[in-house]
Amino acid sequence: MTNSIIHIFLALVMPPLLLGVIGKTKALFAGRVGAPFLQPYYDILRLLHKGTVFSTTTSWVFRAGPIVALATTAVAALLIPFGAHPAPISFTGDMILYAYLFALGRFFTMAAALDTGSSFEGMGSAREATYSCLAEPTLFFALITLSRLSGSYTLSGMLVNINFSVWMHTSAALLLLVGGMFIVLLAENCRIPFDDPNTHLELTMIHEVMVLDHSGPAFAIIQYAAALKLFVLGAFFVHLALPYSTGNALLDWGLFIISMLELAVVIGVVESVMARLRLIRVPQLLVAATILAAFSTLLVIR
């Protein structure tokens, strides 16, 4: 029970901090002081205080977009185990729900974007649809590999199962998986090299261009949902890359928080040292991620 409360508390409160850490890391590389760690929280609060403008050409779909995106991500947050602690909700086959909750949220974000009738948002939706369907196979190959390794069909079972000795036995497969999933993590969360969350150039954006017409509280929800998505997918990735556990419940929570912050720093470093890909090259990298994950599946199945 205590663990479930801590789980929900972390999922609700911590996500924007990751964005703050990424921002700070990038600022350090650029030789700047950077915004405070808590800036994303301030931004969300500021947006919540504003009014919302709805275009008269939009329908209920446009308003549903942000809410469905947040709701699906929040449910996904309940399915994923944080650190060594199992998730509050867990049942056989929950990983399929996990994968398609994101798809549902994405569908509504894209539908809301198309609802505005803007040419920019249409382009953004087209890009998002293309890239997400290329990212999906990687996730499923990863899930197959993990369930094969653990013999479990629940997210908690397959992810908590990974520990140091599993790594020792199947290091090649897991290494491939870490590579593939990191690429998917960056792509799904619209980070550099796939998308630049800080750009203001609507012609080059993917995710940001789809939410151009949202404002005020609706936009705050979108920003928060995006941070939560990074947190949830990050938690999945941290299981693969940093499978430490101590056995002590409190220490494990601390370890999880530190691992997530480390992940944010790594993302910040990646964003600082490389430029964006040309959009035309993005599918190639995503296919590469799929191939990495497919080989890891081959390695554990043979």
């Binding site: 650029a30 609507e202 012609l203 080059t204 964003e271 430029a275 964006r276 890909l277 040309r278």
Partner: protein, 506 residues
């Protein structure tokens, strides 16, 4: 071969009666022949008359001779369009139609340029359209028809904090078939305000033609005023002007390098260059108190003298900025992800560039070896030359590399000049400007060739003062660079040209 033109050197003036005024056929054939022989149009404009206009064409000979030529002809309400034979004339002809109400017969793309009122009384050609041809970007755009073709309209309100312009893309998926650019939102009526000048305000108007090219346009204006007034700037003044011009180039090239890095999401160079650009602007402020060089160039010399301590300080800051810039820009060439993003994007072939008459870094990145500082030297550049850099790959990477190499040459130049600053007066007294004369001044601003033509009337006032900003030549280059490119590469291509909206709109 001068094709019946009056030939002269940059920065000189001559009697208006010396300008040959052949009949129409000889004039237009002469312009065509000159362009075929490799001459280039610097300026082509009209002066309205009671029943038509007098057209003046200023051309520059092939590199090496340093010769400029001018000819004129009188036309009625129509004149034959040469745009389909010489694409570099196409905007000039539209501008003549808009300003002087004389129609270029057979113009392939007859539309307003700036949506401005004509310089003479009368109705424009586009009065039937909504807005009377006076509302920017209200016109028919080129359209590609087809099931999967879609149109994307960007602007005039821009996502970043820059000037307004409207861009209309015809796309097939992510691929751009055609880009049409509509400007005119920044039109302030500078040329109209200059008629009857110069007034005490004129020099300030010159400095704000394009705010980031204050020194470039100021230099051209000062040259015209000095040649019309028979005054010379002292060597000391010419040297400081040269330093200011190169500082302006450095500041803007640095800013552009940072902006290009920012557009591809490469943070370190973007942040460092933003700061270093400020360092160069502050060096200009050291000379005159204004970061953009306002008040520095004045007809007859410079507005402020500089003492030895100031020169030392400038030298010191320059050394520091050079090291910083080399470090920041070096990161670009060392990052494969950045180079992959820049290479083979936004190519304008050398043939196209020559055809549409590109100038400045945009032309040199296509391998065209043209630079006013060498081809038509003015001021300090008559004594101290800066090597001309060209690149061959014609893409965004070439335009980026070229900016860095030019910045290096400019740093060397300033370094040399501050160590041997001539002594003497910094400002000579201006005299009244002469009546019935024509003066032409070309300078190499950081965007490229700036051309100012002054025609004075019998009282020594401007009858017409024609300004051509390099952006006027180059906007078409951006349109061509986008052909068959990804629409997502537009911001990057745009940044690699970094053209002026207000310099075009005047």
């Amino acid at each position: 071969m001068s094709f019946g033109m009056k030939t002269f050197y940059n920065g000189t003036s001559f009697k208006r009666s010396d300008i040959p005024v052949p009949d129409n056929d000889t004039f237009f054939q002469g312009v065509l022949d000159a362009i075929t022989a490799g001459w280039r149009v610097c300026s082509y404009f009209g002066v309205p008359t009671a029943d038509g206009a007098t057209l003046y064409c200023v051309m520059s000979a092939r590199a090496g001779s340093g010769i400029l030529g001018i000819a004129a002809t009188t036309v009625g309400r129509t004149f034959p369009s040469l745009a389909s034979l010489c694409p570099q004339l196409h905007l000039f002809e539209r501008e003549i139609a808009e300003q002087c109400l004389t129609r270029p017969e057979g113009h392939p793309w007859f539309k307003p340029v700036r949506f401005q009122k004509p310089l003479c009384e009368g109705k424009g050609f586009w009065s039937e359209t909504d807005g009377g041809g006076l509302t920017p970007a209200v016109m028919d755009f080129y359209r590609v028809e087809g099931d999967e073709v879609h149109e994307v309209a960007v602007g005039p309100v821009h996502a970043g904090i820059i000037e307004p312009g409207h861009f209309r893309f015809q796309c097939h998926g992510e691929e751009v078939f055609h880009l049409e650019i509509a400007l005119g939102f920044q039109h302030r009526g500078i040329e109209r305000a200059l008629i009857g000048g110069p007034t005490p305000r004129t020099v300030h108007e010159m400095e704000t033609i394009a705010g980031d090219t204050t020194v470039g346009h100021g230099q051209a204006y000062c040259m015209n005023m000095e040649s019309l007034g028979g005054v010379f700037a002292s060597p000391r003044a010419e040297t400081v002007r040269g330093i200011a011009l190169e500082l302006e180039r450095l500041a803007n090239h640095t800013g552009d390098l940072g902006a290009i890095a920012g557009d591809v999401g490469y943070l370190p160079t973007a942040s460092f260059c933003g700061r270093i650009r400020g360092d160069f602007l502050n060096m200009t402020a050291l000379l005159c108190g204004s970061r953009f060089g306002r008040g520095l160039l004045r007809p007859g010399g410079i507005g402020y003298d500089c003492d030895a301590a100031l020169v030392d300080e400038l030298h010191k800051r320059l050394q520091a900025a050079r090291e910083d810039l080399a470090g920041a820009v070096g990161l670009l060439w060392d990052s494969p992800s950045v180079m992959a993003r820049l290479e083979d994007v936004g190519i304008v072939t050398a043939a196209d560039a020559r055809e549409i008459g590109l100038v400045g870094p945009a032309a040199r990145a296509c391998g065209l070896n043209r630079d006013v500082r060498r081809d038509h030297p003015f001021g300090i550049f008559r004594i101290s030359q800066i090597p001309v850099i060209t690149a061959t790959t014609c893409d965004v990477a070439a335009r980026t590399l070229l900016r860095w190499l030019e910045a290096e040459r400019s740093l060397d130049f300033i370094d040399e000049q501050v160590q041997h600053l001539p002594r003497g007066t910094y400002r000579n007294q201006m005299k009244e400007i002469a009546p019935e004369r024509c003066a032409v001044a070309l300078t190499e601003g950081w965007r490229g060739e700036i051309c100012h033509v002054a025609l004075t009337d019998d009282r020594g006032r401007f009858e017409r003062y024609k300004i051509v900003d390099p952006s006027f030549h180059n906007w078409n280059g951006l349109g061509l660079a986008l052909r068959n490119q990804q629409i997502s590469d537009f911001p990057l291509c745009n940044k690699s040209f970094n053209l002026s909206y207000c310099g075009y709109d005047l």
